[in-house]
Symmetry: C2
């Protein structure tokens, strides 16, 4: 594999103003105080305001990331959106964002990649290949998800877990100099026998909205079988991570930081135990953000950069699972 060097020129996160505290939810649901927090590991989440759209949220993160990079929108070769949830059926989220940002006449290429919660990893994987191939030199990856509108609030597991957020990364191709980051390994596996553990069966062209009735309401909502997702993750995670690291000739002890998709408290505990990751290396933001679908991983990555916890030259493993079920990882020397 070619060495794929790039620079993270800027990154940013946007979270809506409205907050939902888990102890409010305890009261609302008539549960003992602490029940929701103990179940989910989430203390507070941000929820999009009524009518706030994914591209509006995305715009805030995108402008801040560009400012941080000192780059103008028009300089970008490509804008890739990797939302787990699409804003509308046509066109792609990236085109909607280009327009929302006021650059609808810029010509900057726009497309989406979709691997649900793994979107950021897939987008970074493909953008780094396009950099290596000389196809693009400057790219912005943006992820923005509003899951709160599609949650089945009757299902405590979903109701206690999900938040809304957007994250943006501005990236530049680079010669392999000391000042750059390097993708050491990228890996993905999909086991679709488990499609039904994490699904929204409807809303696409197999069952468009006009099939909606109040009787089939739940088919149009997100459904997740947490214990089954957990079981599948446990089945595959060790082999998957071993293979990711082996591609680069690394072992877990060579990794300085593990930034997982913030799926749930128990999912991250599983990762920590099964991969034997010291607590000091594991990044968790779920307590104050919830699971923000595809935005969670770039949020945690941004947090690691912004807080200075992740230092230049250190090795970071971005790792996640997504509906499909898919596993994705990128090993990066930052």
């Amino acid at each position: 594999m070619l060495t794929k060097s790039l620079r993270v020129e800027g990154s940013a996160v946007y979270t809506p103003k409205k907050k939902l505290y888990s102890n409010e939810l305890d009261k609302e649901l008539g549960l003992e105080e602490g029940t929701v927090f103990n179940k989910s590991g989430v203390r507070v989440r941000s929820l999009a305001a009524e009518g706030e759209t994914q591209s509006q949220m995305a715009k805030n993160a995108a402008f801040e990331a560009l400012q941080c990079a000192g780059m103008k929108f028009e300089e970008l070769d490509v804008l890739v959106c990797a939302n787990g949830l699409t804003q509308q059926l046509i066109p792609c989220n990236a085109a909607l964002l280009q327009r929302e940002m006021g650059y609808g006449n810029s010509g900057v290429a726009c497309f989406d990649v979709n691997s649900t919660c793994l979107g950021f990893i897939t987008a970074l994987d493909m953008v780094s290949c396009a950099f290596a191939a000389g196809r693009f030199n400057k790219a912005m990856i943006v992820v923005s998800d509003i899951s709160s509108v599609g949650i089945n609030w009757k299902n405590l597991e979903s109701a206690s877990l999900f938040g809304d957020a957007a994250a943006a990364f501005v990236l530049k191709a680079s010669d392999n100099t000391a000042n750059s980051s390097t993708i050491l390994s990228a890996h993905m596996k999909t086991f679709a026998d488990a499609v039904e553990v994490c699904e929204i069966k409807s809303g696409g062209f197999a069952k468009l909205a006009y099939n909606y009735t109040s009787d089939n309401h739940e088919e149009f909502l997100f459904s997740m079988d947490g214990p089954k997702v957990f079981k599948i993750a446990a089945q595959y995670i060790n082999r998957f991570v071993d293979d990711t690291l082996a591609k680069a000739g690394y072992s877990m002890s060579d990794v300085d930081h593990v930034i997982p998709h913030q799926a749930s408290k128990s999912a991250m505990e599983l990762i920590r135990r099964r991969l034997n990751i010291p607590e000091s290396k594991l990044h968790r933001i779920i307590e104050n953000a919830g699971n923000c679908v595809a935005a969670s991983l770039p949020m945690a990555f941004h947090d690691a950069i912004a807080t200075g916890r992740l230092q230049k030259g250190q090795t970071v493993l971005l790792l996640g699972t997504g509906a499909g079920v898919s596993f994705g990882a990128i090993l990066l020397r930052y």
Copy 2:
């Protein structure tokens, strides 16, 4: 740019059995015979059977393409779906297809790219970059669209134009030998000021299905302002194609075949006239297929290969427009 060499190992198309002839539609709508054909240039289209899904259609094309390539599904490094229309909101179409094909335990990486009607061009662009970067060696790109369920049949323009189909391409990375194809240039531009000329506003997370009422039925259907799409295409197409060819140091006279997205008879006429393309070089399949959304372009590409019209060593320009509005092109020495 790195030379991106690859081999088209196999390709196939699937169309449903049910046919809709434009002269039947004339009768149904009380129009003079020939009206629909004269307007759309479409004589007959295939329509998915009631309950037939995009992944079922895709499966047929995918198995045939693999057979043609002499390759097993499990040998693939990645399955990329590039549907213009998503089958369901979660997970991605590629995961649904992996399962439909009976390889849900294979682990083959699955993700989608989405640039609406340009999906195949974007997927081929990214896969060729991943080949050049050594990230993947064997890939299948599948596109499957069922637009018939989302059409506003009251709108004659849509009702006379769209068909259902699937297409699949099996690709292999290659050293730059005489036996390979080479991507000479890839280009994309998006002008999202024109988002509203081609849209399904609803069905995504901005307006989920549970907002559906019979009063806002049309918001949940495809809407297109053909004359405006036409105007935007006319405004940008020459500059866009000139830039695509210039990247490779080519001019239109060096191009042996132009395979456009089969958007409409008038859109292809526009391309022919504005780019001064001899009729013998332009590939049209719209008369017997209609506009099959993102499946149209790979269908026409497959047709050019299967009929022997496109010969090894010849130069072909894959060219399209999609909702966004986006323009996309790949110049390929086949």
